[in-house]
């Protein structure tokens, strides 16, 4: 189901094709970087809806810059996108809710792709399934670590286990979750 773009089109050729006005290249850029931008925006804003809007803003701003030839080092497109994302997210907080305005053509707005949404739902289901398969103690360890941000030493003291046992339990659970994820990615 998932489409990965690890060895995706090199950023130089992508930029060159966009500069030539190739629409397919723009779509490739969106597919290649959209998910990562969304993940970044989600972490930085803590709100998936806001992150979704910001992802659109970032993609539009990046495309506009590439089209206008503002990306000087096309081999560093990822760094350019990251900088754009960071600035737009920071602006979002500064304007406290006012939406960023862009002067792009209306045709530029990207419709919400249902595939990532479905993937996210499937991912959530798999994670739940895998987590529930583990003991409550393992889940507690992951809760204290991942949600509450406690260190392994603090968790060890809390659940009355050794530091090493906590570390082993946590990494085993994360590894199993990752394995589950890989199966989803390969489908």
């Amino acid at each position: 189901m998932t489409v990965d773009h690890p060895a995706a089109t090199s950023s130089e050729s992508l930029v060159a094709r966009i500069l030539c006005g190739e629409r397919a290249a723009e779509e490739e850029l969106v597919a290649q970087y959209g998910r990562a931008i969304f993940a970044i925006a989600t972490v930085r804003t803590g709100n998936r809806d806001t992150a979704r809007d910001l992802t659109q803003d970032v993609l539009m701003a990046v495309l506009k810059s590439v089209r206008n030839g503002q990306v000087r080092e096309s081999d560093k497109l990822a760094a350019f996108i990251q900088g754009t994302a960071r600035n737009l997210i920071n602006n979002h907080f500064k304007t406290s809710g006012r939406r960023a305005e862009t002067d792009l053509d209306p045709v530029e707005s990207f419709s919400t792709d249902p595939i990532p949404e479905l993937e996210a739902a499937e991912r959530a289901r798999l994670v739940q399934e895998e987590l529930k398969r583990h003991s409550a103690l393992d889940q507690q360890i992951l809760l204290f670590s991942l949600v509450e941000g406690h260190s392994l030493a603090e968790i060890a003291e809390r659940v009355k286990l050794s530091h090493e046992a906590v570390r082993a339990r946590k990494s085993r659970l994360v590894r199993k979750l990752a394995k589950k994820f890989e199966s989803l990615s390969q489908k």
Binding site: G46, L131, A136, L137, F181
Partner: protein
């Protein structure tokens, strides 16, 4: 930055918790845009974080179940102990009975003069007993039976914050504490705004004193009821009933509830994590973070102080107001809990609004402002949320209680 460094240094998790500095964050995000594997790892952690946040209460309150054989062994040992103790008691009775029989055989038969003297002594003792315990005091005023504490004297009950009236489903195992601002006992009152006088002769005249924490000048100013309702006069039995109604426990909290100042100001704030399943802790909310860490450890007094600081930094944050109110309630300052809880009740989400109204009702109850408590419970019972049934049930009990008070 490469994948192996990210893996060994747990950078993805640190990134989720905003524990990377700006340069590290930029480098990590740039790598994320280029590496699908690391992006997937981050998505995995985000999904797990969201799922665990949703089930945080369930997971946190889990207690280990012993394996069957262990339980069986425990039961065997317990049974053995019971048999031994029962045997010992039976043996003791048996031998004591023998001794009594032997004693009876040599019992002294008193003369007529001795019997008259004993009768006189007995009459004197009865007279003293009548002076101490007037006959017109009903037994129910001296000892309350049928309480969940198996007939413990309620004076003892008032000094122990036992787990009665626990709010179903919302109290976490860690940091949960029962609290009521009402103190029915004679003994020193530590965390109470109200002190209902103890003793059958005093309760008859309805003496009631208001006690406040000496260290807190604000707490010493009684808040007048806008309804003009006078504080009711309670017997001890009624005080116990009100204690049951007003006692409360700490609502759950998960760290995923952290939001930015801007979001709180913009969106009128959120109280808990439900609206935002997965996101990082906002490093700007350090006071709130510290306060809630203390809250989770059950240090409500510390949490209250830190939340006061957080409220100064984030005046628009309704989550701060809510937990400040709850903490004050839990440390026995119900009157001071009213203002922050009233602020928190302005939150837009009905579920969170319900929580705020519910705890506000508790604060009013502990402040003996029963009419206002009833109003708040009515609102809470009309809102959609997990406390709907609790609020409805409590409302009925409070209405019955007020009707009983009115009759008296």
């Amino acid at each position: 930055m490469d994948c192996s460094l990210i893996k060994t240094a747990d950078l993805a998790e640190k990134y989720l918790h905003s524990r990377l500095d700006e340069a590290e964050m930029d480098a990590f995000e740039t790598h994320l845009l280029e590496c699908a594997a690391c992006r997937r790892q981050l998505e995995l952690l985000q999904s797990a974080q969201a799922n665990l946040s949703e089930r945080a209460h369930e997971i946190r309150t889990w207690t280990p179940v012993k394996p069957f054989f262990l339980r069986w062994q425990t039961m065997s040992v317990a049974a053995l102990v019971v048999v031994v103790v029962a045997g010992a008691v039976a043996g003791a009775f048996f031998f004591r009975g023998k001794e009594t029989e032997q004693t009876l055989t040599v019992q002294h038969i008193p003369s007529a003069d001795e019997r008259a003297a004993a009768q006189e002594k007995s009459n004197q003792a009865t007279g003293i007993a009548e002076m101490v315990a007037p006959a017109d005091v009903p037994n129910s005023e001296k000892r309350i039976d049928g309480l969940p504490l198996d007939g413990h004297n309620y004076v003892d009950f008032s000094h122990k914050n036992k787990g009665v009236g626990k709010t179903k489903g919302i109290a976490p195992k860690t940091g949960a504490a029962q609290s009521s601002g009402i103190n029915l006992g004679k003994g020193p009152e530590k965390n109470s705004d109200r002190n209902v006088a103890e003793g059958s002769s005093e309760t008859g005249s309805g003496q009631e004193s208001t006690r406040v924490a000496k260290t807190d000048p604000k707490a010493s100013q009684p808040i007048p009821s806008p309804h003009g309702e006078e504080a009711p006069t309670l017997t001890q039995a009624q005080g116990v009933e009100l204690y049951h109604l007003g006692s409360t426990s700490a609502p759950a909290f998960t760290f995923s509830g952290f939001t930015s100042n801007e979001q709180n100001a913009e969106g009128a704030g959120d109280i808990s994590s439900n609206a935002r399943p997965a996101h990082a802790i906002d490093s700007r909310r350090t006071a709130f973070r510290d306060a809630m860490a203390a809250y989770l450890e059950g240090k409500y007094s510390d949490a209250s102080g830190l939340l006061e600081q957080a409220a100064l930094k984030e005046p628009g944050a309704l989550d701060v107001q809510f937990y400040l109110g709850v903490c004050r309630l839990l440390i026995g300052q119900p009157q001071r809990a009213i203002e922050p809880l009233t602020n928190a009740a302005k939150v837009s989400s009905p579920v969170l609004q319900q929580q705020a109204h519910y705890y506000l009702a508790k604060a009013y109850m502990q402040s003996l402002r029963l009419k206002e408590a009833e109003d708040e419970l009515r609102i809470a019972s009309q809102l959609t949320g997990p406390l709907k049934n609790d609020a409805s049930g409590l409302l009925k009990r409070l209405q019955a209680f007020r009707a009983q008070l009115a009759e008296n």
